[in-house]
């Protein structure tokens, strides 16, 4: 399996770099234009969350295979403050910052699979996948 490529998030410029990496990877894996936009937009939301809440982190994008299906996997990791209530942040409209509260639930809707692990004071890892039709 491919090791994937990572983008380090340190500033708002890196959000653009991460979503460009996701789009390019999706394109090379054969995703169509609309799925490329979905994946790039989801990564933009996740990378922005890292920047806003943790300050720094990484976004890794790689190819995945399961049961003969191929897809893309996005792993978003930070050692930030963590999320105290995952149920709350997954609600539309919930935000503790200047966002619209669409980031995480929106990213989940744009992808096929979405897992979130977080521990307060330790950090947050989000893994999401999209499968090719």
């Amino acid at each position: 399996m491919a090791q994937g490529k990572a983008a380090v998030i340190r500033s708002d410029l890196d959000i653009v770099i991460a979503r460009t990496l996701a789009r390019d990877t999706a394109k090379s894996l054969g995703f169509g234009a609309i799925d490329q936009a979905r994946i790039a937009t989801a990564v933009s939301e996740l990378a922005r969350n890292v920047f806003l809440y943790a300050g720094t982190g990484t976004v890794t994008v790689r190819e995945v295979e399961r049961g003969g299906r191929r897809g893309i996997e996005v792993i978003c990791e930070d050692q930030g403050p963590g999320i105290s209530s995952i149920d709350l942040v997954m609600q539309d409209g919930y935000s503790t910052s200047r966002g619209m509260g669409m980031g995480l639930p929106g990213a989940k809707r744009l992808m096929d699979e979405f897992e979130i692990r977080s521990q307060e004071g330790v950090g947050t890892t989000i893994i999401c996948r999209k499968w090719r039709m």
């Binding site: 708002d12 410029l13 936009a37 979905r38 937009t41 933009s44 966002g99 619209m100 980031g103 929106g106």
Partner: protein, 127 residues
């Protein structure tokens, strides 16, 4: 770091800005501030923001577009967003951002026509 500046063109009493680069957050905020300042300086009655070349609109940029329309509206300037790509329209709705109060048009030409109608309807023809 100096942020990218999006050129804002003036034709008659309409301002036109076409986003041709991937906007990062700081340059997007700069763009909003520049637009409002130019509206104030030029007393433009209409503003078109053309997104033909934009391939990703996330919640941050989506909110910014909505804010630009609201803020310019408060100043008395009509805003039309033009040229949304199909993939961008799909992701915006799936993201949950339907921009209900933002006037849109398929392209720049239709956007200009829509602005013209808006300005005529609002009855402030000769300025």
């Amino acid at each position: 770091m100096e942020s990218l500046r999006i050129p804002i063109l003036k034709i008659g009493d309409v301002l036109i800005a076409s986003i041709q680069v991937a906007l990062h957050d700081a340059s997007a905020v700069q763009f909003k501030d520049d637009l409002l300042q130019r509206i104030y300086e030029t007393k433009a009655r209409g503003l078109i923001v053309d997104l033909t070349a934009v391939d990703v609109v996330d919640s941050f940029i989506g909110r910014l577009i909505s804010d630009i329309a609201s803020m310019a509206g408060l100043m008395g300037t009509r805003v039309v967003i033009t040229g949304l790509q199909p993939a961008v329209a799909i992701t915006l709705v799936e993201l949950g951002l339907e921009l209900p109060r933002v006037l849109t048009a398929l392209n720049l030409e239709k956007g200009l026509a829509a602005l013209q109608r808006q300005v005529e309807e609002s009855g402030d023809g000769a300025g």
